[in-house]
């Protein structure tokens, strides 16, 4: 007989518990939500100017078109709290007002919502709305010196400016000054933003696609000037967020305005082009980097200066310099962030805000300096590992960057690259990844019915990352139960308020809250079992409680422990600041890439990407790996293909669709593999887990850029590294 008869599922690479529903099309996403009455469909009429006042607006033809039930404009959309008023607390909950005034704030913004019985009717009628805008010249960021405003704070709570000087040694033998640029990017979640909204009396029910349910409720309450108690938000399935669904967007507000006006359910699904304008994107960045080191490769100065646009009335400034402050030890670290307020659509978190593009530039610069110092880029990195956080001087709860670099290099076969063949040269690149870990206040409940079925509830979301599965695993683990004895219900604002998904904090925070709830329920069972159970291991075998300690094992049916009226037994768990250390918390990783560069055309082909990661306890090897691989693929997009092209006269985008906004496709990606250095970090969270969502992106692109330079000596500082830029430099090299 085994001493520990409890089943273990936590960490195991089990399949997604919602996987079958999804592949069978049975998981209903926002736009697929079924109402009792078929919702009307809204289509938005978009502004073709960036900023100005609507001077004429003719809706008669649209109103008379077949199937149209309403045309809503600022004249009849009803009251909303205006956009960006001082009372607003945060960008996720500030008013998202639209159609409330004749003023247009950005290109592509809604001028009208045409509501009809069918999508086709609404879309056609929308083309009949005539309007003119008295346009003004849009403010845009025209160069790095054009960004003069110091933001109050940066995303993630970072200070905008940091300057520390550690020693007075002079390590400036070798210097590098380089200017990097990264383009505007779009989150590009597969599921477009969509909402079905309906009123039942005073109660507004909003089926939408958001990462954080509770802030969606708040945003709706503020925007529509309603009581939060009267708003229900449901977002059980989210087809990717990547930051663009942290907040609530125009699809939701428009659907609500429509439902309020018509007293009928209204559905609004943004088209791909509308997603580009009516949800946030990432601004372009100018990153000016100066580095110095001594002949042994010890870093002297790290200076990182970032200039980016910020959308007017919306307080989001990206912490582009965060990686430059934490990754390496240096004598002196200078980091500044400047913004300019611009007339662009919302600018907000996009796939690893700060670090994705910060690491692209900074880790490229580190390679450039290593090359100047005549050092192997891996060795150069290893000789600058920090003992404590280089800026705060606080200890790290765990810091395995050096191990990730060393062990990763070994697994990858660092430097062991294929021989050049024909016109093809091969290169290897490496980059470090350091991603801030955050435990964010969160709640989850567990309930147990008399048949032994466990139900997890939280307004937590699963944005494709595997939340359903890891929460089921946590509950199953605590009770030693089979996975199918756990039901997980997410994304409903009636459930305990969680942190939602974002900033890589979802799994560790909500997972820990659930763990606490499960422990509390265990205690309840122990209490019912009597005094001798207090030091026992408790598990569930169906409707039977197994109680095991050194004296032996007993089995007690649930129904003998509690009255029928006591079921379901329920406990709620909660985590907050007190559950996490005040020391520096980071997930670490090392990225490696092997590329092939065609010396004729400049085309780059990714052969291999490899990552070694340390991110605390891994809750599910399969979903964690998938998420990190996804991040690495986005890294390829950052390095090689993705860019929004701006039309500056109108502050519009030239390529707002997936035909011309180039996300990496299957054929762009080579072999992607990774390993973990697993080490539960209980200083970080009660379950020892840390964030992984953004770790896979951070540094992934830089490893590719560095591999290109290694292959052919071409260093492109203006991302993405498209073939023309490589080819032009190859031509110059002869």
């Amino acid at each position: 007989m085994k001493t520990d008869s409890k089943k273990h599922v936590l960490g195991e690479p089990v399949n997604r518990v919602d996987g079958l529903l999804k592949v069978r099309g049975q998981a209903r996403y926002a736009a697929e939500h079924e109402q009792e009455s078929t919702p009307y469909v809204g289509w938005l009429v978009a502004s073709d100017e960036a900023v100005g006042e609507i001077t004429t607006l003719e809706t008669d033809a649209a109103e008379q078109a077949d199937g149209v039930v309403a045309v809503l404009t600022y004249k009849n959309a009803g009251p909303l709290k205006p956009f960006s008023k001082p009372a607003d607390e945060s960008r996720f909950t500030q008013s998202r007002a639209v159609l409330h005034e004749p003023h247009i704030r950005h290109y592509g913004a809604p001028v009208a919502l045409v509501v009809a019985h069918t999508l086709e009717q609404a879309r056609y009628a929308a083309s009949l709305v005539r309007f003119s805008i008295n346009s003004e010249r849009p403010d845009l960021l025209e160069g790095p010196d054009d960004a003069k405003v110091t933001p109050d704070s940066l995303d993630g709570g970072f200070e905008p400016d940091v300057h520390v000087k550690n020693t007075s040694q002079d390590r400036h033998d070798i210097r590098l000054s380089a200017d990097y640029t990264t383009p505007s990017q779009i989150s590009a979640a597969m599921e477009p933003h969509a909402t079905v909204a309906s009123f039942d009396g005073n109660t507004l029910t909003v089926n939408c696609s958001v990462q954080i349910v509770a802030s969606a409720v708040e945003a709706l309450a503020i925007t529509l000037e309603m009581e939060p108690e009267n708003i229900v938000v449901k977002s059980p399935y989210v087809g990717g967020g990547f930051g663009s669904k942290l907040g609530l967007h125009y699809d939701a507000i428009l659907a609500c305005i429509g439902a309020r006006h018509l007293k009928h359910a209204v559905k609004v699904v943004l088209s791909r082009r509308q997603v580009f304008y009516n949800t946030p994107h990432r601004g372009n960045s100018y990153q000016s980097i100066s580095l110095s080191c001594d002949a042994n490769g010890k870093l002297g100065q790290i200076s990182h200066k970032s200039a980016m646009p910020r959308a007017k009335g919306y307080q989001f400034a990206e912490a582009t310099g965060a990686v430059a402050r934490v990754t390496y030890d240096a004598e002196e670290i200078v980091s500044t962030h400047r913004v300019k307020d611009v007339d662009l659509p919302l600018i907000d978190s996009t796939r690893s805000p700060g670090d994705a593009i910060g690491s692209l530039a900074f880790e490229s610069a580190i390679d450039e300096l290593a090359e100047k110092a005549g050092m192997d880029p891996l060795a150069f990195r290893l000789c600058n590992m920090p003992e404590v956080h280089p800026v705060s001087k606080t200890r790290f709860t765990s810091h395995r960057l050096a191990d990730c670099l060393r062990q990763g290099a070994e697994k990858f076969g660092w430097g062991n690259k294929p021989q050049a063949s024909g016109d093809t040269l091969y290169g290897h690149g490496v980059a470090s990844a350091m991603r801030l870990n955050m435990l964010t206040p969160s709640r989850a409940s567990i309930s147990l019915d008399h048949e032994g079925q466990l139900t997890v509830r939280s307004d937590m979301t699963d944005i494709g990352t595997g939340t359903y599965t890891i929460l089921a695993q946590i509950a199953a683990e605590v009770f030693g139960a089979e996975l199918d004895k756990v039901t997980v219900e997410l994304g409903d604002s009636h459930s305990p308020v969680s942190c939602g998904s974002g900033g890589s904090f979802g799994a560790a925070s909500t997972g820990s809250a659930l763990h606490k709830a499960c422990e509390a329920l265990c205690d309840k069972l122990k209490a019912a079992l009597g005094d001798d159970a207090s030091d026992s291991a408790i598990s569930l075998d169906g409707a039977v409680v197994l109680c095991e300690n050194h004296t032996g094992k007993r089995k007690v049916p649930l129904t003998t422990l509690f009255d029928a009226s006591a079921f379901p037994l329920q406990e709620t768990g909660e985590v907050g600041e007190e559950d996490t250390s005040e020391d520096e918390q980071y997930s670490c990783g090392a990225h490696f890439a092997e590329v092939a560069v065609n010396m004729v055309s400049g085309e780059v082909r990714l052969k291999r990407q490899y990552g070694m990661f340390s991110a605390g306890k891994i809750l599910n090897l399969k979903t964690a790996s998938s998420q990190l691989k996804g991040g690495m693929v986005w890294g390829a997009g950052y390095a090689l293909t993705e860019a929004i092209h701006h039309h500056t006269q109108t502050a519009s985008f030239l390529n707002p669709d997936f035909g011309e906004y180039h996300i990496a496709v299957n054929r762009d990606i080579g072999e992607v593999s990774l390993d973990f250095i697993e080490e539960a970090d209980y200083d970080a969270s009660p379950i020892g887990a840390k964030g992984i969502g953004e770790l896979g992106i951070t540094g992934a692109g830089a490893a590719i850029a560095n591999a290109i330079a290694d292959a052919c000596g071409v260093r492109v500082r203006d991302f993405p590294i498209t073939l023309d830029k490589v080819m032009n430099q190859l031509k110059a090299l002869g």
């Binding site: 073709d48 077949d66 086709e120 879309r123 056609y124 083309s127 016109d423 004729v600 055309s601 400049g602 085309e603 082909r605 090689l640 293909t641 092209h645 039309h647 109108t650 519009s652 030239l654 390529n655 669709d657 035909g659 011309e660 180039h662 990496a664 496709v665 299957n666 054929r667 762009d668 498209t722 073939l723 023309d724 080819m727 032009n728 031509k731």
Partner: protein, 341 residues
């Protein structure tokens, strides 16, 4: 999308019975037209559904050549051409285009008529002479990285996006057309497309109501063939530069050469000047350079596409040298340069 009515074509003989006015469009695979309609770039009031058109989905191989029905899908044609060594370049070009899903829908006739992916053509809020004659060309002074260097005019610099047409151009294909009056006419593909000139809205020589019924490719040996498509990602992107080339060497002499360029012309580009220099002459790097430089003498760039002449030159030289190498190693070789692609 505007409301529209639908007519159906059952057989080629029924063309005369259709109501074909300026507001009517033929709908084949719909992979381009439906998008254009959604964005109101095309606003036909009537569509002729070709999906039930009998006899238009066949490929006929005769002693003299190949007749490809207009409704043969890109997938079917690619698979057919894969097995015909003398059509290898066509198969390669087709397989480099779009995605499997799109190629399963897209047709031979429709592919020839697909419209440019110029950003400004697709954005109805911006001036575009092709979409709205007389409004101006935004690309001339705008973001023109994907735009043409050959055959441009002050009115338009948009590229023709097809890969298939580039290969067909090299293979000296012709297009068979049924007119609205029921007459047949054949047009050499090299005469089929119109450079924009003063009328960028007119992209080919078809008249109102003309229906492409088939494409004809003459038989014959063409030697070693390659379609090299340079693009921003490895799949699902239009060519920045593409070269369709076939070369037969007789000892050191160029016995036959077929060439066409994509991604660089306002129409699939048939490089006459380069071909005149190459044909029948002794193969050498110097000859290749002379040929491409003669062609590039006519190239005009617009800022963000300044890289295209250099890229085309490099790719052309590389492809031709590879073809020649194969011909020298394996005299009389017919088919793909790289069999496994």
């Amino acid at each position: 999308m505007n409301p529209f009515s639908v007519q159906t074509l059952g057989s080629e003989g029924d063309v005369e019975k259709l109501n074909l006015d300026a507001q009517t469009r033929y709908l084949a695979g719909g992979t381009n037209l439906v998008d254009l309609m959604k964005h109101q770039i095309e606003t036909p009031v009537s569509l002729v559904d070709l999906s039930e058109w009998e006899g238009a989905s066949e490929i006929e191989k005769t002693g003299n050549g190949y007749r490809i029905g207009a409704m043969v899908t890109n997938t079917e044609l690619a698979n057919f051409a894969w097995r015909e060594p003398s059509l290898s370049v066509l198969s390669q070009a087709l397989l480099s285009g779009a995605t499997v899903q799109l190629r399963n829908r897209a047709t031979t006739g429709g592919n020839l008529l697909q419209r440019t992916r110029c950003y400004y053509f697709y954005d109805t809020a911006k001036p575009c002479n092709k979409r709205e004659p007389g409004t101006g060309c935004s690309a001339l002074t705008g973001m023109n990285r994907i735009h043409a260097i050959f055959g441009t005019s002050e009115q338009c610099i948009a590229t023709h996006p097809s890969d298939m047409a580039v290969a067909l151009m090299a293979l000296n294909a012709s297009v068979s057309v049924k007119t609205a009056m029921g007459k047949n006419r054949d047009i050499a593909l090299r005469e089929f497309y119109c450079t924009p000139g003063e009328t960028p809205e007119r992209e080919n020589v078809l008249e109102q109501g003309d229906l492409i019924t088939s494409v004809y490719i003459p038989a014959g040996t063409r030697g070693t063939q390659h379609y090299y498509k340079v693009r921003d990602r490895a799949s699902y992107a239009f060519a920045l530069v593409s070269v369709a080339a076939a070369l037969e060497l007789n000892e050191e002499t160029i016995h036959s050469v077929s060439l066409s360029f994509g991604g660089v012309g306002t129409i699939p580009w048939y490089p006459k000047k380069a071909l005149e220099i190459l044909q029948g002459n002794k193969f050498s790097v110097q000859l290749l350079e002379k040929a491409i430089d003669a062609e590039l003498a006519d190239a005009k760039t617009f800022g963000s596409n300044d890289f295209k002449p250099g890229l085309l030159r490099r790719v052309f030289l590389s492809v031709m040298l590879s073809l020649a190498q194969r011909q020298k190693k394996q005299p009389g070789h017919e088919g793909a340069l790289y069999e496994n692609r």
